[in-house]
Amino acid sequence: MSETLTMTRDAPMPWENRPVLKVEHVFMRFGGLIAVNDLSFSVGRGDITALIGPNGAGKTTVFNCITGFYKPTQGMLRLEHADGSTFLLERMPDFKISAKAKVARTFQNIRLFSGMTLLENLLVAQHNTLMLASGMTILGVLGLPGYRNAERKAVEKAKYWLEKTGLTARADDPAGDLPYGAQRRLEIARAMCTEPELLCLDEPAAGLNPRESAELNALLLGIRETEKTSILLIEHDMSVVMEISDHVIVLEYGTKIADGSPTEVRNDPRVIAAYLGVDDEEVEVVEETLDEIIEGAAT
């Protein structure tokens, strides 16, 4: 159904034009279980792209493939920077995907360094830059000024992100002491400190109240505006998905069932069926009636 929709369009979708990430025919098998089944999609440059689907649809598996925590069984993940350099993510170890290909991520169950302060969390995120500046530690131990300057810059950047996420007042508190919503924001700030080209957020609004959710929307829109970072997010909270995303991809049982703008996806009968749980026969009925309506509109 969604394919018929896309095919009826003449012009290519805007996110197909030089996408920052192109996922092509990715499969992920765990023994006999196919978690991701022939998945292809593009993440548009500068877009906020949402990956949605019912629980167990394989969204987090896709994330883990993109960020290198899993190696896809089959398929290609192509990341292209604004300057044109391209990376094949399926061939890179996980830490290089962050360090070289500049893909940052957050986790569904927050993974902060809870015993370290907020500032330290943000400095750990700038590890590679600081490591170079400290001359692989040797110059740093001797206390040469080059490292001190680099550290000052790193602290400035950390301050910038603390400011953006509204956490400046708590910079010297341990991350584990923060309330839940603030921990979510700090995780985003930490990911942004790695200066990513693509930011992957795994359920950033989970457990947030409506006000915090709205703040998160503003933060993400701000990141897209000022940092020009493309964002790929998994989300269940439809208010976030529909309000801020430019492009929505729907997964069910590891297969893509819809791909389009939020309004298109919202009205897709298969998406409605996947979310509201319609019987298979009813899906066909709904599809047929919709087909008839579309045909009627065309003639």
Binding site: F95, I97, R111, L112, G115, E120, S134, P174, T194
Partner: protein, 459 residues
């Protein structure tokens, strides 16, 4: 309310007597067979039961009286103090802060003055025991504790075979100095480098392991090194060890009775105390080097990466940190300091044998780090003083023989006391002496981080 009034009017005497007598009865049941009866073989190889009723009576007497005193005096006093100190317990942080602020510098000054104080009190000859058995011995373990602290405390990798690197350092110095006549000052860094290489060698296969599995493999590595030292007779002289290892010289000046020795040059009476005092300052400087490097590294990206690794390895990888290299640097650096300490140990003893590098040593060093509070320099130093100084003090308790008879050897109770101390500390201070963490950098205000938030690492 009525309860509180009763407390103020003093404890219930008759209840306390009843309780104490009951404890005596239980003690009789327990200790009657354990202490009261003893079997011995007579001339015809028969077992004869002997009663030790006097001893039994004294044990039970102590328990009854102790229980009574506990009920009537100690616990009420403690409860009263708690009541009085209840609301005020928030304020002593000022004293605490002052203590934690001034403790390190004061103890540093004390450590530098320690030999001077001892010598002025006891003279050169009398100072030997206190400088050597206490000073040097404790400082070696402080250094080992600080070295292992990098691996266990900062990076959160449980290493139960740390003594292997200590052995590598000791044997490097022993073999290279006795075969090639190289000086200590050349071999000290070399021993560190060798040990670091072995650290990397061990690091590679164990990088994929976590938690219990890592601990077991490192334990096995420690045993492998010891068994190689025992069995590679041609090189290491097996379990009889290497003896007459050259002593350390100070700018070529020997510490012996020869005409160009230290005592003659300085025109002092001949004594072995000068060498010991020299060794004391040397190990103090080596330990302080360990501390300095560790403190420095904690504020550098590599140190923060170690701590981040301890907190969450997956998050580290998602931030582009090469966890393999990070773990290897922790292993290598920890091993390097063990190597330094090992070469010092060999030079100080003049003799090394595999006996000195048993699992027991690793266990003691790990215990020092855990007891001190993982990651805390001051805590680890305190724990080393308590553990090593404590066992050395046991040797000083010979007067106990007059009470318990000539067969009593306080040294043999070392493990028992260790065990009890560990259980006690784990009950009262489950995260070690110093459980809080000092942040490495701050924007506005340095706040210590409660130990409950800091993770212990998962291997």
């Amino acid at each position: 309310m009525a309860d509180a009034i009763a407390k103020r009017h003093g404890p219930d005497m008759s209840a306390a007597v009843k309780d104490a007598l009951l404890s005596g009865l239980i003690a009789l049941g327990l200790f009657g067979p354990l202490v009261g009866l003893r079997t011995e073989q007579n001339m015809r190889n028969e077992l004869v039961v002997q009663g030790r009723w006097g001893l039994l009576a004294s044990v039970i007497g102590v328990i009854v009286v102790g229980r009574f005193l506990l009920l009537t005096l100690v616990w009420p006093a403690m409860a009263a103090r708690k009541e009085r100190a209840g609301p005020a317990s928030e304020t002593p942080s000022a004293v605490r802060q002052a203590v934690s602020r001034w403790f390190a510098p004061t103890s540093l000054v004390f450590l530098f003055l320690y030999p001077v104080i001892i010598v002025s009190l006891l003279g050169f000859q009398g100072s030997l025991k206190w400088v050597d058995n206490f000073g040097i011995q404790i400082l070696i373990y402080v250094m080992l504790g600080w070295g292992l602290n990098i691996v266990v405390g900062l990076a959160g990798l449980l290493d139960l075979g740390y003594v292997a690197f200590y052995a590598v350092g000791a044997y490097s110095y022993a073999l290279l100095s006795s075969h090639f006549g190289l000086s200590f000052w050349i071999l000290l860094p070399m021993a560190g480098i060798f040990a670091a290489l072995w650290g990397i060698l061990l690091g590679f296969p164990v990088l994929r392991l976590r938690g219990d599995y890592l601990a077991i493999v490192t334990l096995a590595f420690g045993e492998i090194i010891r068994l190689v030292l025992i069995n590679w007779r041609e090189l290491t002289n097996g379990s009889s060890g290497i003896s007459s290892i050259p002593k350390i010289t100070l700018f070529g000046i020997k510490f012996d009775a020869s005409p160009d020795g230290f005592a003659k040059i300085m025109d002092l009476p001949i004594s072995s105390a000068y060498y010991k005092i020299f060794l004391y300052y040397l190990i103090l400087l080596l330990a302080l080097l360990t501390a300095f490097v560790t403190i420095r590294l904690r504020k550098l990206p590599v140190g923060r990466a170690w701590e981040a690794l301890r907190e969450d390895e997956i998050a580290c990888r998602s931030l582009g940190i090469n966890t393999t290299n990070t773990k290897l640097t922790a292993f290598a650096l920890g091993a390097m300091f063990a190597g330094f300490a090992g070469s010092f140990f060999a030079a100080r003893q003049g003799f090394v044998s595999p006996e000195s590098f048993t699992f027991m040593e690793s266990a003691i060093i790990v215990a020092i780090v855990v007891l001190g509070g993982m990651g805390s320099m001051v805590g680890v130093a305190l724990a080393a003083v308590a553990m090593i100084g404590g066992t050395e003090l046991l040797r000083e308790l010979a007067f106990l023989k007059t009470i318990f008879g000539d067969n009593f050897n306080p040294d043999q109770f070392r493990m028992l006391i260790f065990g009890l101390a560990m259980v006690g500390i784990m009950i009262w201070k489950p995260r070690g002496f110093v459980s809080s963490r000092e942040p490495t950098i701050f924007l506005a205000e340095r706040k210590t981080i409660s130990g409950s938030l800091v993770k212990e690492g998962h291997g």
